[in-house]
């Protein structure tokens, strides 16, 4: 039992550091060269969020998300960055939690929903920060792009999960 707890804690720590590195690394992917829109990114950290959600459960996933956002702000996002990532992240996580149980939606669908609601959350913060509703004008573009970024992260997730599944079976046997 105790070993399990240490296991879980270590896993959480690894996932947090992975998420931080991924969100830093994806700044170097020049996605804006292809889609010239504000705030476009691949959302690779969502792979980690999904992993946490599926392997560790809702509670740990939320903990990982919040710690990741706070650390991300400390390392360079700043307070306004924290508001964006936390609101987007929590909204995305909540929606993914709801659809995780749905047997009709695969990891791809969950990932797309996560990406879409992450953008919706960020636009909500932007409306609040700028004191202007006109920022909503960006949302349709962001939503359309999130279908593609969600597919991309979803397929990464599917690959990672497959490998993890077979490997843990080997370990357990």
């Amino acid at each position: 039992m105790k070993k399990n707890k240490v296991n879980q804690m270590t896993l959480c720590a690894i996932l947090i550091s992975m998420a931080l590195v991924l969100s830093y690394m994806e700044r170097f992917i020049p996605l804006q060269m292809f889609i010239p829109l504000p705030g476009i990114k691949l959302g690779l950290a969502n792979v980690v969020t999904l992993m946490a959600l599926f392997f560790l459960g809702t509670k740990s996933a939320f903990t990982i998300l919040i710690i990741r956002c706070v650390l991300g702000a400390v390392f360079g996002g700043g307070i306004s960055g924290l508001a964006f990532s936390l609101t987007g992240g929590i909204l995305a996580m909540s929606v993914m939690c709801i659809f995780k149980q749905n047997r009709r939606v695969s990891v791809f669908g969950v990932s797309i929903l996560g990406a879409a609601f992450h953008n919706i959350g960020q636009i909500l913060v932007a409306i609040f920060m700028m004191g202007s509703v006109y920022v909503i004008g960006y949302l349709p573009y962001l939503l359309l792009v999130s279908v593609f970024t969600g597919m991309a992260t979803g397929s990464i997730c599917a690959g990672v999960f497959r490998i993890l599944k077979t490997n843990t079976q080997i370990i357990q046997n």
Binding site: P38, F99, K100, V105, S106, I112, M130, G137
Partner: protein, 131 residues
């Protein structure tokens, strides 16, 4: 690990519905927004900093101004269009937004907390009112 029974890894019909939902939502918001803004002519450029109106410009007069806050944006009005052509903010999303015109359109520089919005008519454009 291993609690992965409730998860599907293959793309399935539910995912198509999810994509459909997101695309429909995008189109819906886009259409509503399009109808509300941008279809009318407007030539008043209003500069907001931290949500506060700091400057008004006419879209009919070619000008260049600098907007200072945490960063500096260079705003150019040219040929009835407006753009942020230079900025030292990270990301430079505002510069990538390009040239805008039409009432209700806006340029946003989030790091600098600046919004440039095109609003209705400039009063000076009204030469006289006949009653």
């Amino acid at each position: 690990m291993g609690k992965t029974k409730g998860m599907r890894l293959r793309f399935c019909i539910g995912d198509v519905l999810v994509i459909g939902f997101v695309v429909m939502l995008a189109i819906l918001i886009g259409v509503v927004f399009w109808i509300k803004t941008g279809t009318e002519e407007g030539n008043l450029v209003v500069v907001y900093r931290e949500g506060e109106k700091i400057r008004e410009l006419s879209l009919d007069k070619n000008t260049e101004i600098f907007i200072e806050n945490s960063y500096t944006n260079k705003l150019v009005v040219k040929d009835k269009k407006v753009a942020i052509v230079e900025s030292d903010c990270p990301g430079m999303d505002c510069v990538h937004s390009g040239w805008i015109s039409g009432k209700g359109r806006s340029l946003v520089c989030l790091p600098n907390r600046v919004e440039i919005r095109i609003e209705g008519e400039v009063d000076s454009e009204v030469d006289f009112i006949v009653r």
